[in-house]
Subunit: 237 residues, 2 copies
């Protein structure tokens, strides 16, 4: 899907990047860092409610297997453990609903809308382990967003060596300028245990003069550095 944006077939792509229960979406972070030169143009934060879908007339104790997207399964881990079922991953929650049609020992985690479409019923609602449950999506495009005054910027970088204080030095540029970090996420660099890249989101636009100073300082001290984009911060959700 990101490939379609990168090659110009689609003008924008929307992908999940983190969830308030399960954390980062690894595949999105890896694609942003290594595969595509796309910009984050915006963010969308949605409240997620998971439901357990079954074929009509099935009761909870008949269920042996549950199908869903791996993130949904992870967000409902506690509920599924209590149910004592085996789990199977599908590419989407819609695919899970389709998969269980006519299979009375199977359930799917999905939306009420999927239940309607595939003739299923909701046997349990709001089954996620913590509530409220939010997923943050990013909007990817060929360029990022002009400054609005309420912006955020996303960057990714690696540290130059295993010397004490590398990350501390980088974070110091933000602290000294009084800039608030809204996210910090480490991710394996794939080059061995203990080698990380860092995703940082912070308040401000890459065209703000004090942000430009910070970005220049980081760029000077890191072997790998990429500005993923500046975009309006979504605070009303």
């Amino acid at each position: 899907m990101l490939g379609a944006v990168a090659t110009g077939v689609a003008s924008r792509g929307v992908v999940p990047i983190e969830n308030s229960i399960e954390g980062p979406v690894g595949v999105t972070l890896d694609l942003l860092a290594w595969e595509y030169d796309l910009c984050i143009e915006g963010e969308i934060i949605l409240r997620v409610r998971h439901n357990l879908l079954v074929n009509r007339g099935v009761s909870l104790n008949e269920i042996r297997e549950v199908y869903s997207h791996p993130q949904s399964l992870a967000q409902c881990r506690g509920f599924l453990e209590k149910l004592g079922v085996s789990t199977h991953s599908t590419p989407s929650t819609a695919a899970a609903a389709r998969t269980i049609m006519g299979r009375r020992e199977c359930a799917a985690i999905g939306t009420r809308r999927a239940a309607d479409i595939y003739g299923l019923e909701v046997i349990a609602e709001n089954i996620q382990d913590f509530d409220p449950n939010f997923t943050r999506f990013i909007v990817l495009s060929e360029g990022d967003h002009e400054p609005t005054g309420r912006d955020k910027t996303s960057i990714v970088f690696s540290l130059s060596e295993d010397k004490p204080g590398g990350l501390h030095e980088i974070l110091g540029f933000f602290a000294d300028a009084g800039v608030n970090l809204t996210k910090i996420e480490s991710r394996p660099s794939k080059r061995g245990l203990g080698k990380y890249i860092f995703f940082v989101d912070f308040q401000g636009h890459r065209k703000d003069p004090h942000v430009m100073d910070i970005l220049r300082s980081i760029s000077d001290r890191t072997p790998f550095f990429k500005i993923l984009g500046s975009y309006p911060e979504m605070t009303d959700y």
Copy 2:
């Protein structure tokens, strides 16, 4: 399994905590932070090689579905995408091998030993997306390890508020003492997007005087703070 250690049924438990391709094992981190008061007594780092197992005589282009543990599926994502198959998660790679017995359109990601046990054959080896691929396990017990002089300590903490520089201040205690961090991992606190807890591993034992000073400083400034244990660092792998 960790429950068996916590209740004294088992004296030790070994669980995966991170992988050099796929990153943190979320469920382990969550259990360490929130569920159990167990100590890390040691670490074990193993090189992981994944193989694609099929029923005898099956060729690659007959395969439609692949079963394995979610971490194994994630570590072989690129290979599986090229193969164009659907994926299904199982509780272990051994369970995946058992699941596909007699199902010629199905393959499992697993070990050569599982192939032997279940009468399968290895059709492709070393199919992980990056090589070498390491998984780090921790040994959990009721107490941690006495100092050996080549130790590491693991802690977890949250920050007191969304003020600029909170993490920077904490990392400063390590930087000022010249103590090297070997891992830093953020993880959602489950209390909403942008609220994290941090797992940090560093060189030194919690009984070393300079480490005691650092731990006291962190404890004074964080609403949630837990020492997960000190244990010998494994460097020969």
